[in-house]
Homo-oligomer: 483 residues x 2
């Protein structure tokens, strides 16, 4: 019995130490490991299978909007990165440099891409001649590197996997439309596929992407009350077009600069999924992204019962093949151990098959999210399971939505703001005069950052004063401590 | 008319200058571009879409054999690479080194992975405790870097995309079984999905992977008579296990070294597909890998005809959605231009819809491989197209098989060997005594290398003398000039 309980006993409660809980779950569920290279991670098969599902569903959403995938080089010449002034200023401290290759010192150091606006911009300038070539809408799934001193698996690592979209348009308005369109793709993915409710809006000048005109983001709320940026979309205006000479001949015979966009989401989404849904027993994975949607645990006490149980498990396995993502656990561990292990690993539905189930020609289904049980006859499984999985998916979204609402606060007082941020955390909505100096002072004092200026603003504009400066407010903003 | 012919006129004939033909086709079909970083390439959307299809079909074949995907870090500490003596000797000249990161000189330089046996081996040593943990069967789709001075798009670039599989087993025999199994996956993929016939067998000691016990490969024959290695599978024996301390506790209570394997196929497959199937009009893509399987070219002379043609094209597009990968070319170019462009881009089937087709409620289908035409009523398209695409797929395979047979020579004389290699090229099959010194001398003199010692050897063993040394032959071997 001690063995059977091991998984759960070893996990710290979320309320006691959330970051310890997070690390234990990531390691015990075999999602990822620290690599022997500082700041890097190894994504293990169970973690990578979540990423494959994220890629598949997000990529399909991209392609519905006309996105084509491509691949640009890993290494970027120093001269490229230096071309856009804000860009190099933003990324310089995080770069890794290749200085030797093929046995020789390189004449010009090459940076491992922290993002690819520069090298994509160079290609766009060669590919684009006329307005007929526009828009160009390209994406790549790749690895990038931004040197980090302190690392958290999935959330902050020097190397991470992501997708970066890059587009070029005739006008800043067209670029704005694409920027917003991709933010909507991220929102839909987060809420519909990851069951992760988000708030969305514009980033402040302090928080926007280095070189962007405007940055938009979706932000999710973790169960410890901290925010996680889960996807960003940038309208780059003509900044990169001017640095990389991306021009086109318009229908009116004039040469004009393109407007470009970029947008990205990364493996930190996996961290978000863990921290939005997980509980003290471990992961809870949304069915649409779970590597295994259903795990079958066979149960017998006497050897005489084994054959009939296994026979039925194999029959069910055959019946469900290709219909749900199924794992059958035939290992030598006890049923209790298996229950704990697959709860830790967040499989949405457990199916127990014991001698009584064989007798009744039924299976016991147990939901991971609320542990509700139901007995279903074998003939009904094929119809019931997809419905049940969708019920779990929706329940996770509703639970996370309720949590987000309960943890979104409104205040007009900076004193109360400080109290909320340090005691309750969550999103704090305030009236705001959009002053960068004030924003930095708040960050300095409370560690809270401006997450977004949300799209949903009071009808008829904001009345009243900024909660911090007392100056006339220009908008409402949402602050939080963030990962 | 001049414009309409442009694509074809500009392409060099294969017989005049095959490598020029290759480069022109790759650039004009917009498969890839040279990058501003020496030795690197940009894979453009049309080329990347071929890679996506390769990944999808090959990955499904991997997973049927129990492969799980994962991700290991890009950067490998120098000390890791130095642990396996043959491995570092083989790869040292091709490495790119990161020496600065996050604004500081690194204490230990980090190599951009040329392959990941070392860092995977390190993880295996931590993950594997007992025989119950075995086998471990892992793969990753990623980018690697091997510094090159002379580059050919897709075939030889410093950075390329590939997959690298890594497995660990209880015994060398188990590792051998997996090594051969993955070679069979490559063979099946090459022949069934890429319509690329291959010979397969074992590599010589000279040509095997740095650190392997045995290397196996599939080799395809390009239309210029040169060979291309299209996939390799290595039984690493206990070499890496000993360097990285990958041990397990066996059922008999003994600690033993694992045997490991690795196997890889890369974006050079795209180069192979171009050079196995292409003709003087450009690419010919096998239907299973083609980004677009069918292109619709609408045709009208008078404006009055346009509406009816477009209406029918849209109807067909709706009907075929999700059934075949379809491109509708509604650009302003002339039909003749479109015919040439899509022939150049290798789309397996062209569908022409003109006023007469509208009248007859039919479409004209034109095969890319042999230009055969057939008129098909609209109602029959949905059934006919998948069959026609499969006919094209099989025809490409048969044509390539016939080419390979015609260009596989047998000789017992080194004089004739030299003549074949320099005049006819192709595969040359000879009796062979397996001497490394002789192999190097032949390479020096003829530029031909030993491609494989094929699995199919004469029944009852090889009789007679080595074609080069005159010593008793131990096997038959296949030589060729190679990419």
């Amino acid at each position: 019995m001690v063995d059977e309980e091991r998984f759960v006993e070893d996990i710290t409660d979320q309320d006691d130490n959330f970051s310890q809980w997070y690390n234990q779950v990531v390691r015990k569920a075999e999602l990822a490991d620290y690599a022997p290279v500082r700041g890097c991670m190894i994504i293990r098969p169970y973690g990578y299978a979540i990423w494959e599902n994220i890629q598949r569903l997000m990529d399909a959403r991209f392609k519905e909007t006309g996105v084509l995938n491509a691949y640009f080089p890993l290494l970027i010449p120093r001269s490229f990165i230096e071309k856009e002034a804000e860009h190099i200023e933003g990324f310089a401290p995080e770069l890794a440099w290749v200085t030797r290759g093929g046995g020789e010192e390189l004449e010009e150091p090459l940076a491992i891409r922290p993002t690819s606006e520069t090298i994509v911009g160079h290609s766009f300038s060669k590919w684009i001649q006329s307005y007929r070539d526009l828009p160009i809408v390209i994406n790549q799934w790749n690895n990038v590197m931004r040197w980090e001193k302190r690392t958290i698996l999935f959330l902050r690592t020097s190397e991470f996997l992501w997708q970066e979209g890059h587009t070029a348009h005739r006008s800043i308005e067209d670029a704005e439309e694409r920027t917003r369109m991709m933010l909507e793709v991220y929102r839909a993915f987060a809420e519909e596929d990851a069951a992760m409710p988000v708030i969305w809006g514009r980033k402040s000048e302090n928080e926007k992407f280095a070189g962007a005109l405007r940055t938009y983001a979706i932000e999710a709320l973790m169960r410890d009350g901290k925010a996680l940026q889960a996807g960003t979309s940038h309208n780059l205006g003509t900044n990169f077009a001017k640095s990389f000479d991306i021009q086109y001949l318009d229908a009116d015979g004039q040469r004009k600069y393109c407007a470009t966009t970029s947008w990205g989401a990364s493996t930190r989404l996996i961290g978000g999924i863990i921290m939005v849904h997980g509980d003290n027993a471990g992961l809870i994975l949304p069915p649409r992204l779970a590597p295994y949607q259903v795990v079958i645990v066979p149960i017998w006490r006497k050897d005489a019962e084994k054959a009939a149980v296994i026979e039925m498990v194999e029959r069910i396995e055959k019946m469900l093949k290709g219909k749900v993502r199924l794992k059958v656990d035939l290992s030598e561990n006890t049923p209790g151990w298996k229950f704990n292990e697959w709860e830790l690993r967040g499989v949405p539905v457990r199916m127990e098959i014991g001698p009584r189930d064989v007798q009744n020609n039924s299976a016991m289904l147990v939901r991971r999210d609320n542990r509700a049980k139901e007995s279903v006859t074998i003939g009904a499984l094929e119809a019931r399971l997809p419905v049940l999985l969708e019920e779990v998916q929706q329940a996770l979204l509703q639970r996370a939505k309720a949590f987000q609402e309960q943890n979104t606060h409104y205040t007009e007082s900076y004193e109360e703001f400080k109290q909320i941020i340090s005691e309750k955390r969550g999103f704090v909505r305030v009236k705001w005069a959009e002053e960068s100096v004030a924003e930095l002072a708040i960050k300095e004092e409370t560690k809270a950052t401006l997450r977004v200026i949300p799209f949903d603003q009071p009808e008829g504009g904001v009345q009243g004063k900024c909660f911090y400066t007392g100056k006339p407010a220009t908008c409402e903003a949402i602050f939080a401590r963030a990962y």
